[in-house]
């Protein structure tokens, strides 16, 4: 049996991204890891309930089963949200780096700008 198919790959990519979030101290790599996780979810979502030889639900074709259109519709939304998330994360990071020159998560309270 072939174990490398979309769902397994999606789960693996998700947890690889999670691992990246745990290991990397760089904020830029945090954003990249989040994107990796998200692509894992998207891969998982669009391959679930996929049957071979199904056709897109467009037109009048009757000879084969229709593919489920809902995951694709949801994932288009999720991709759009993902772009927004990445853009805002990068904006925050750029602002923070240019103003305060900090690129990594830190334990240093002074670097975080904390008083008291």
């Amino acid at each position: 049996m072939n174990f490398i198919f979309g769902e397994i790959a999606g789960i693996l990519i998700f947890f690889i991204g999670l691992c990246g979030l745990m290991i990397n101290k760089s904020i830029l790599k945090t954003i990249m890891s989040l994107t990796v996780m998200e692509s894992g979810i998207i891969l998982f979502f669009i391959t679930i309930n996929y049957t071979p030889d199904s056709v897109p639900p467009i037109g009048q074709a009757q000879e084969a089963a229709f593919a489920d259109p809902v995951p694709a519709a949801l994932m288009i939304t999720a991709i759009v949200i993902g772009i927004g998330i990445t853009a805002i994360g990068l904006t925050m990071f750029m602002h923070y780096k240019q103003k305060h020159g900090i690129t990594h998560w830190t334990r240093d309270r002074e670097q975080q700008g904390r008083g008291l």
């Binding site: 999670l18 979030l21 745990m22 945090t30 954003i31 989040l34 949200i81 925050m92 103003k99």
Partner: protein, 531 residues
């Protein structure tokens, strides 16, 4: 018609952002008042004629993306609308009330409404993701260094939480081909093997536990809610209302999985330890805002405990406590904002003599501190009484009393601000509107306590009969605990540096993510062993 709850704030917020400031402000107030009226109207409709369902595009129920209002969600909506009105009255004359601020602030109202009303996993994902963005921009609205750091931590942690939610939704869709909460609830008994729900359940629980900030996952909360440079209204809306959307989703998801999975003992203990840890961390703070943020952690823990006791009265007590906490924690945060303005300082040890310096603010603080500690006749006492009535077990009652003792102890520290000499000779009157908002919310704390039984009956839908003798006994215990905690505070804690050192401990971002993964594995193991 429920769509109005979500779309109207977003539309009005955008319009208010585009038009001139002196036109926008009346528009915002007019909108909020009519919004409250609409919420009352919908509340009465639900109360009289049952739940309302609003399906988009006229598709059949269960297939369509839908908004759903039952007594619980419409109560949350009503609470949000009313408290938002108080927030807007408070913020009206402050210097940060400019177009960028109220645009985001009102959009956030619509998103919170969306979270309360959505009956659909994907919509919940969208709303939580978008509200994460809005909240993190609100946190860093002053662009101060620490605020940006805190906002970034908040943002990334919550985006991660939402990805868990989306992945859980994907697995549920794989099993059932459904996304609607009620439809999934109906479909779960059809499963041949409940073990198929372990992974999606763990994913969804990580997402909502992260939003609720329970024990190992609360590190982002004090950073986000206690950011010094964020306006007090934002801290108040986060701590009072937004955190409740997580609790609400926790209730909904557990209801959904109820036929297959029951994790009440697990979450009972999680809630208990959240409460205790919140109190310990709160005692270790000098910053008034951080103190209140950690106190939120402990109160949310109490709510989770009440939800997972397994009896109806404790469950409704927890829902009552959601409302109470929204009320008094908002009041406390707003008062803290006024205090900071007056004294120019946030250090609890340095602020003294509030009673003489700012009598009205002191009144609001006294009312809400009595509420949060559960003094007799205040609303906190009613909800805590309901939660405590949920059990006959001696040990569980003891645990609840320990939680309440911790709350009282931490607020004894907080109340030291009230006494002492006034520092500045002149009394500068803060904005009148802010005072009105704060004091009236404090008075509502007292009123909902005095008429607690009627309130619970009418709004929460649980007819409560208070046993006078039992309530009297609880009042006596309260006074004893108050005296005890004053003694402990004066004797031991006042000069203790140890707690202050604990209070400074925190996790880095990588630590937070690691703890989150650990929590995920913990839930998985618990389910694999006990299911």
């Amino acid at each position: 018609m429920l769509g109005i709850f979500v779309i109207a704030p977003i539309l009005i917020g955008t319009i208010a952002y585009l038009i001139r400031d002196d036109w926008a402000k009346p528009l915002v107030y007019l909108f909020q008042i009519s919004f409250v009226l609409f919420a009352i109207n919908q509340f009465l409709t639900v109360k009289l004629s049952g739940p309302i369902i609003w399906n988009t595009g006229d598709y059949s129920d269960g297939v369509a993306l839908s908004l759903y209002a039952d007594p619980l969600s419409i109560f949350m909506v009503l609470m949000t609308a009313f408290i938002y009105l108080a927030f807007l009255i408070y913020a009206g004359n402050t210097e940060y009330f400019h177009s960028k601020f109220y645009f985001l602030f009102i959009v956030l109202e619509g998103l919170i409404m969306g979270l309360f009303l959505s009956s659909d996993l994907f919509n919940i994902f969208v709303f939580s993701e978008v509200s994460t963005i809005v909240v993190s921009i609100l946190i860093m609205i002053n662009k101060e260094k620490q605020a940006i750091y805190d906002g970034m931590i908040y943002f990334f942690v919550n985006v991660l939480g939402s990805s868990f939610l989306l992945f859980g939704a994907a697995m549920i869709y794989r099993t059932f081909g459904l996304l609607d909460l009620r439809a999934i609830h109906a479909a779960i008994p059809l499963l041949t093997d409940p073990k198929a729900m372990i992974l999606p359940y763990a994913m969804l629980m990580v997402a909502v536990s992260n939003k609720t900030a329970v024990m190992p996952l609360f590190s982002w909360l004090p950073k986000a809610h206690g950011t010094p440079s964020a306006p007090p209204v934002i801290s108040a809306v986060l701590s009072g209302l937004y955190i409740k959307s997580g609790v609400y989703l926790f209730i909904r998801f557990n209801q959904m999985f109820e036929p297959a999975i029951n994790m009440q003992p697990f979450f009972f203990w999680v809630g208990f330890f959240t409460s205790i840890l919140g109190v310990i961390m709160a005692l270790g703070q000098r910053d008034i805002k951080l103190f209140l943020a950690y106190s939120t952690v402990s109160q949310v823990g109490l709510i989770i405990v009440g939800l997972n006791m397994g009896t109806a009265i404790a469950y409704y007590g927890a829902i009552f406590h959601i409302f109470n906490h929204a009320l008094f924690k908002s009041t406390l945060f707003l008062s803290a904002g006024l205090i900071e303005k007056e004294y120019g300082d946030r250090n609890i040890d340095k602020i003294r003599g509030l009673l003489k310096q700012m009598p009205w603010v002191a009144l609001a603080i006294i009312l809400s501190v009595l509420g949060i500690t559960g003094a007799p006749f205040f609303n906190g006492s009613i909800s805590k009484y309901m939660i405590a009535s949920g059990t006959d077990d001696f040990w569980i009652t003891l645990l609840l009393n320990i939680i309440n003792f911790g709350t009282i102890l931490s607020y004894v520290k907080f109340s030291t601000m009230l006494f002492g000499k006034r520092i500045k000779p002149t009394y500068i009157l803060p904005e009148n509107f802010s005072l009105i908002a704060v004091v009236s919310m404090g008075i509502v704390t007292l009123l909902t306590g005095l008429f607690g039984a009627n309130f619970s009956d009418y709004f929460i839908g649980f007819s409560l009969e208070i046993d006078t003798l039992e309530y009297f006994k609880k009042g006596l215990i309260y006074i004893l605990m108050l005296l005890g905690s004053i003694a402990i505070y004066k004797g031991v804690l006042k000069r203790n540096q140890f707690l202050l050192r604990i209070g400074k401990s925190e996790l880095t971002f990588n630590g937070i993510v690691t703890v989150m993964s650990g929590y995920f594995i913990m839930i998985l193991l618990f389910l694999i062993v006990f299911l």
